[in-house]
Symmetry: C2
Subunit: 205 residues, 2 copies
């Protein structure tokens, strides 16, 4: 009897600043921990709305926002990532990108698409809601941009993204990045990535 590899679900939202760090860090760390990843896009908008927020808390609470940009820049430096570009406007509209990522779940190109969108947003300062930006990324991945976009905007894919957002809320997610294990543990924030992988990888009784 072979044991199933442990699984960690990585919940990300393209507008989320700290999700950028996790998206760029997670793959080699998961490999080293022997953990299989589910790359799970979702939308924070509906979840924030349920908390009474109509935009990012970093925009609503200026002191927290100012700190976040400084902390993120420091973390980028520590992690050897390119100098942080603060997206303008912030938060970016990541809906189309999230639909493409949903369509790409399980496909070989899925994780690389996610990383490329985050790099465009936070390392290159591009507008990830712009078709041009997403078209360039899809081209670089060897995909047909028109076709991919049409598939990503089909009803079944839209429904899957909505269902993922509902599932996130049901599981108690309130921010991104978040990580969930098959035994129901929730970890929030890039700072908990290592702890989440460790939890997922530990021997089940």
């Amino acid at each position: 009897m072979t044991k199933a590899r442990p699984v960690l679900t990585f919940w990300f939202e393209f507008a989320s600043t700290y999700s950028y760090l996790s998206a760029l860090r997670i793959a080699p760390l998961a490999r080293a921990a022997g953990v299989e990843l589910v790359w799970q896009p979702f939308l924070l908008g509906p979840i924030f709305k349920a908390q009474g927020w109509d935009t990012s808390p970093f925009s609503i609470y200026p002191a927290k926002g100012r700190y976040m940009w400084r902390d993120l820049a420091r973390r980028c430096a520590e992690l050897g990532l390119p100098q942080l570009h603060r997206p303008d406007p912030f938060p970016q509209n990541g809906l189309l990108a999230a639909r493409i990522a949903t369509y790409g779940q399980g496909a070989d190109w899925g994780p690389e698409f996610v990383r490329a969108v985050y790099r465009a947003e936070f390392a290159e300062g591009r507008q990830i809601s712009e078709l041009d930006v997403l078209t360039r990324i899809l081209n670089e991945l060897g995909l047909d941009p028109e076709e991919t976009r049409a598939a990503a905007q089909s009803d079944p894919v839209k429904s899957r993204l909505r269902a993922a957002t509902d599932a996130a809320q049901t599981r108690g997610l309130f921010g991104a990045p978040s990580f969930t294990t098959s035994d129901g543990e929730l970890f929030w924030g890039d700072d908990r990535l290592e702890a989440a992988l460790e939890w997922a990888a530990r021997p089940q009784s």
Copy 2:
């Protein structure tokens, strides 16, 4: 010419859950890093009020609150701290304790008083607003409880605590624990304790 030892200011609020972790962890880490600590009590109430909150965000946002208690319990286990006791009510009223800690700043007993209050609150489940609890702690530290309490509630000490809270706000603090360095860097959260010490200790140009 001898160089001054680097200094890190540790901003804590007695109602703050993650400040408990930092208060119990910080002294040996600072010693190992060669960093001198300033134990700085302050009050989050006025800062939260300025953000439109009349209590802890963990009480205002239930999903975030549920997560925090679980995360804190996990962190206590990881750090080898006693099993977490969730204070009831939460948040606790830490005003008198903060005044005593302000009075004890720079005194030998200061840090041990802070740790004892946090242990009473989060490891023993005591009410830190109760005189009995604070009296027991002061007794154990070999202090005269009556005398200490009277000094802590004198106008100069009250003013110092108010001034510290104002200074926290001016420096951009929005939560606890926070850490500030002499060159003006701000770090927020127990997860940034190591980074803050590293920043404080790095050679100045």
